[in-house]
Symmetry: C2
Subunit: 717 residues, 2 copies
């Protein structure tokens, strides 16, 4: 079982076109029983007018579905682009070999009974992968239910959605690890109006993975929105690069990720043999790249509607206009909960609104234009225009409440006209029943104006737009930072002790405390005098990992004499504690006081790769797990967002009577660590600056303790 | 503007029947224009066959809606039970007077222009209240849109819902402060299948409040579920008692509360003149009494469906059965997120399942019975029975996934039969389209088996059942604790200094540190010897609120001599700091070390009344606001839930290498403080034990510092 692709990723990506839109398909194991899975695939392809050649393969039949059936893959008149393999696990392995020999580049292995059942299945899965590699066949599955390409009428799978007589085509491409549930989502979303393009179920993902398909969707001109249903992403190390490409292409990604709890992870293991991995790192990926996380089908539908219009808000300031006040209260709350602003309108805007609106209407945001505006839809247009002109407003939610009948049509027409004349996204919450609004809903839908029946769903969808838009802007801004010279060392990293670790950090601009490595008591005293009192002394030895235990640390030394005495004591203690130890010296270090201790680190996660980590010290990390990750490298804006996103962020902004901390310097240090782990990800297993002291505004940060564990060495002490 | 009811609450409650189901109604300001609000109310009552007498009142008409119209309330042939007042603010005040004179007990004032618009409106609202009080009329509104009683055909209001030709009757009664949005919710929920009984919009709530109606719904035999849409609850002090009655009556409450953010609160103020109040206290009320909080319409619908079957789970252990694995992963996650358990099945259950299920099915919870079970629905029944027999399982979610056609009908029939034979709630997630399942959905609905299209909604609804069920059980268990003697003091509380505050706490069984009030240095030394070293000394004086500043505190004194010296120093410093101060003495107190410092307090909130508060000290409260409230009195189970609900709870259970704290003693102390604030709520404004030290398991808690502020006095020092 391996997630490594058989062929080169670049080639695979460019050639996926033949998988997703094959010119001919072999259905191996096709049956004439339309109630069986083996009968459904061919029947579905035929019923939905697949335009290419179809080759049923089954030695039992001369004909299936009214066309010639072949006894084996070998005797097919040509090598089709795709084979759908509808056979038991053991037979499937053999057929993949035959496909390779025939020159068929892609096979979808539907059948289960592989790694997800354990035991013998694990061995069969290994054989399947070997067969595919040896014979040059790229695999989808096994343990999946197929794929569909709606606009091109390729319905190569089984189950209810494949049997639908009419499916609307659209720009949403989706990959799902769970075939059954994923296609149930597609079924429901389609019923609610979403048009799909590609839908692929990947099952056990022994070769082509979810990320392969997402990568392909980024390049697919017909895909405007990418959706994924994941139980776990084994090749997550590729996620950041693909996500960055999606952002650059302006394609939002909607992620439904399950298997987050221990219970869910256990269930996923027995379903597709997949394991969840760190929920924190998934969340980091979703946050960093603006992926929109959903937990239910209607959220997918709502997001698809929100993005279909193609407008993005320039910032998070939302204007809310209601024809009755209640929904305004709800929306103001909902915006706050989703991190959107409901800014005050400018004085000029309010003055202009007062001219337009009835006297008892409220010119404050949320703006209650009152139901009386229904008598004059021109008033509504005028009011909305005034609000849209305000720079504080980047998007507008219009709540048409329960408006019905003729007024509904008029309002819809006004909204369509208004929407056409502004680059700012307009979203509508309208709770009336479809049969009471005349053609109003149709009119809005035709103009692709996002329409929701409740304010809650409307606001949540706008939040998704803002989240994506924000990630696009952040990537653009962080991407235009001055280029830097990567500092990949030619020689292996020398970070055997803390001093060397701190030197490496200093090379990346992360200021250590002022410090000198002293090798005699007199040196130490002289160094302390230069550094300025008080100082700390710490023994430096690769052989003494626990300095304090060894009596190797003395703090708050206030004069030269006590430094000298401390030096001798430390060396004596260290020798007594670890008789054979090589002692490199004693570090004389300025004592940093009056700052806030944070933890800045980096990991090289087995699944996700190099990431930078930030959190506050003490109970924030130990009890509350209040830490945040981002994948390296990041820019300053992302670093500031990391800092802002921890729950204890207030501590840095002057809580508990302290002066505000130098958050700018902290953000720069986070960026630097992300560069360091990017440059040395191959060598560094883990990096921990704990604590990094963030001094008051303008005074920077100081590395007090740093630990770097390389892949080959033990952690330095 | 006052929220105090005009008549006695008990009387009002018993007499609300005439308001909710009036025998005759006057429509004051009725019009013959069916497009106007004034025309709609009468038209709606007539169209929906209101069975009582209708009296339009309008001097402009002789007839309206085909019946006699009266020039004034005065000349009506009888006093109807209810007047619906459709007039401007100033006229409405006058009509309320006339209603009172006529003997009409209830009036719904529809019109706006009162406190919500500010200025003159505030004065008009005051006049409206005065008129109602003086003339004995109970008011609904103003600034509302009326009410409906569906089974009795009372549709006394305006707007789309009132005009629907067919509304299903059911057991859901709802009160809403926002008429427009509230009835939009009703409109959508009804469309999705919810049957309503009473729906009342209360607008500005100058007299009859939301809680009055909820209180009435508790006693209404036709109401099985109570829903409320709130912007703010002014008379929240009544909430605990009403919520307790609802729990005792077995009626769940669904609360949609808006106005939680500063933005939302501002919007609410200009909508119904209501203010939010502390979000923490609302949350406390919802948590304490098992109210189910919702944010969208489908959640109301889903909850109503969940409760309609009338079964409650005995505990939070959920069995999950799927016909395909994917949904199991999702549900395991969702259960974890909602605090539900997905317990291991017993060995016996697993053995029995293995006998019943196909070999490749998983007998682990979530149980994947595999699609092959569709060929033999008897197998499904057998498997579900086995799982339901397991004591670890209190409720069952069955995921029928995308099953269609004949198999759908068979499964539905099996589920109905199974559900009828078990007291455990059964819920179904089934994603197929309605037109593809034959009569399956109808069959389930007829049996009131909760049916959801997605696992997410299914799980959330089950969580609501569990939350309510848990609150019912908690109230029952906490309610049967041994009765206690309330200790309401006859004389005013004497808590002028800390010593007295601690004495009061000791009376309630909350152990202070061992301590003695000494009045000489020799006394102090003798006391310290009795108490055991180390001790702390603290000056006691009502005139010295800041003891430390005054040099009035000495800590960690380890022998008699240093106690004597410290006594003298403290007294000298205190005299120097506050020359005229009366010094009661110096408290000699054991030093408590090795415990965990928490904050235990009580407030007497202006809106909500007496509540007990708990949180961890330091950054948990100062930065994270990680505190929890409950309304007094509470029992041990509620106290334990308070402790478990804070984010930093792990600190008490042995985080950071400490021994587990005595949480049982902490819970007892919380209960005691709830009794204290219950007994003395009238006198105590605020009580703070900060810190209360929770010692390791079995060693109890100690009050280190306590402050009690009475309503009349300054806080004691």
């Amino acid at each position: 079982m391996s997630a490594r692709p058989i062929a080169d990723v670049e080639n695979a990506r460019t050639s996926f076109a033949r998988l997703l839109n094959p010119r001919a398909i072999a259905i191996v194991g096709a049956s004439s029983d339309p109630d069986s899975i083996n009968g459904q695939v061919l029947a579905n392809l035929q019923a939905r007018h697949y335009p290419g050649a179809l080759y049923p393969v089954n030695p039992k039949y001369a004909q299936v579905g009214g066309i010639r059936c072949y006894p084996s893959v070998e005797v097919l008149p040509q090598a089709p682009d795709l084979a759908v393999v509808l056979l038991g696990a053991a037979r499937a392995v053999q057929v993949v070999v035959e496909c390779g020999r025939k020159g068929i580049p892609f096979a979808i292995v539907i059948g289960a009974g592989f790694a997800e059942v354990g035991g013998e299945g694990v061995q069969l899965q290994r054989e399947l992968v070997d067969a595919a590699r040896q014979h040059g066949v790229r695999l989808v599955g096994p343990n999946c239910i197929g794929m569909m390409n709606v606009p091109d009428n390729v319905f190569a799978g089984f189950g209810p959605v494949f049997g639908l007589s009419q499916l609307r085509a659209g720009g949403v491409s989706m990959v799902t690890q769970s075939g059954g549930f994923g296609f149930a989502v597609v079924n429901m979303a389609e019923e609610m109006g979403v048009g799909f393009r590609h839908v692929v179920s990947t099952g056990n993902e022994v070769d082509i993975t979810s990320l392969d398909f997402m990568d392909a969707f980024v390049d697919d001109p017909g895909t405007s929105l990418i959706a994924g249903y994941f139980e776990g992403i084994r090749d997550a190390v590729r996620l950041p690069a693909i996500a960055r490409r999606a952002l650059a292409a302006g394609k939002p990604v909607i992620a439904w990720k399950v298997g987050n709890s221990p219970e869910g992870e256990r269930a996923a293991a027995s379903h597709t043999g997949n394991l969840g991995g760190s929920a924190k790192l998934y969340q980091a990926a979703f946050d960093q790249f603006g992926w929109i996380r959903i937990d239910d089908v209607h959220e997918l539908v709502d997001c698809a509607n929100a993005f279909a219009r193609g407008k993005l808000p320039a910032h998070g300031g939302v204007g809310i206009v209601t024809v009755s006040g209640g929904a305004g209260v709800l929306l103001a709350d909902a915006c706050a909960a989703h991190g959107l602003g409901v800014p005050q309108l400018s004085q000029a805007t309010r003055a202009r609104l007062r001219e337009v609106l009835p006297a008892y209407a409220s010119p404050q945001n949320p703006v209650d234009v009152t139901a009386s505006i229904l008598n004059d839809s021109g008033l509504l247009r005028a009011a909305l225009k005034v609000i849209l002109d305000d720079d504080a407003i980047a998007s507008l939610i219009v709540v048409a409440s329960s408006v019905e009948g003729a007024a509904a049509d008029k309002i819809a027409a006004e909204l369509v006209a208004l929407d056409a004349g502004t680059p700012k996204p307009l979203m509508v919450s309208w709770s009336s029943r479809e049969d009471r609004v005349g053609g109003a809903y149709q009119l809005l839908r035709a103009a692709r104006i996002p329409l929701y029946r409740t304010p809650s769903r409307c606001c949540r969808s706008l939040a998704a737009l803002c989240r994506f838009s924000n990630a696009v802007r952040r990537q653009a801004r962080d991407g235009v930072l001055p280029a830097r010279v990567a500092m990949k060392a030619a020689a292996p990293l020398a970070v055997a002790n803390e001093f060397q670790a701190r030197q490496l950090l200093a090379q990346y601009g992360i200021t250590p405390t002022r410090e000198v490595l002293a090798t005699s008591a007199a040196d130490a005293a002289a160094a302390a005098t230069r550094i300025g009192f008080p100082v700390a002394l710490k023994v430096q030895s690769a052989d003494i990992p626990h300095k304090t235990e060894a009596g190797g640390v003395k703090l708050r030394l206030t004069d030269a004499r006590s430094v000298q005495a401390a030096y001798e004591e430390i060396v004596a203690s260290a020798r007594a504690y670890a008789p054979g130890a090589t002692i490199d010296g004693v570090l004389v270090q300025e004592m940093v006081e009056g700052g806030i201790e944070v933890i800045l680190g980096a990991v090289n996660d087995a699944r996700f790769g190099p990431a930078v980590m930030f959190g506050l010290g003490g109970i924030f990390t130990e009890v509350l797990d209040d830490v945040v990750f981002r994948f390296a490298p990041i820019g300053l804006e992302a670093a500031h967002e990391m800092v802002a996103s921890i729950r204890g962020a207030a501590v840095l902004h002057g809580a508990r009577g302290r002066p505000p901390a130098d958050v700018d310097a902290l953000a720069r240090a986070i960026v630097s660590v992300s560069h360091l782990i990017e440059d040395h990800g191959g060598e560094i297993a883990e990096l921990d600056i704990n604590p990094l002291v963030v001094l008051p505004k303008g005074r920077g940060v100081r590395v007090v303790d740093a630990l770097i564990a390389t892949r080959t060495n033990q952690p330095n002490p």
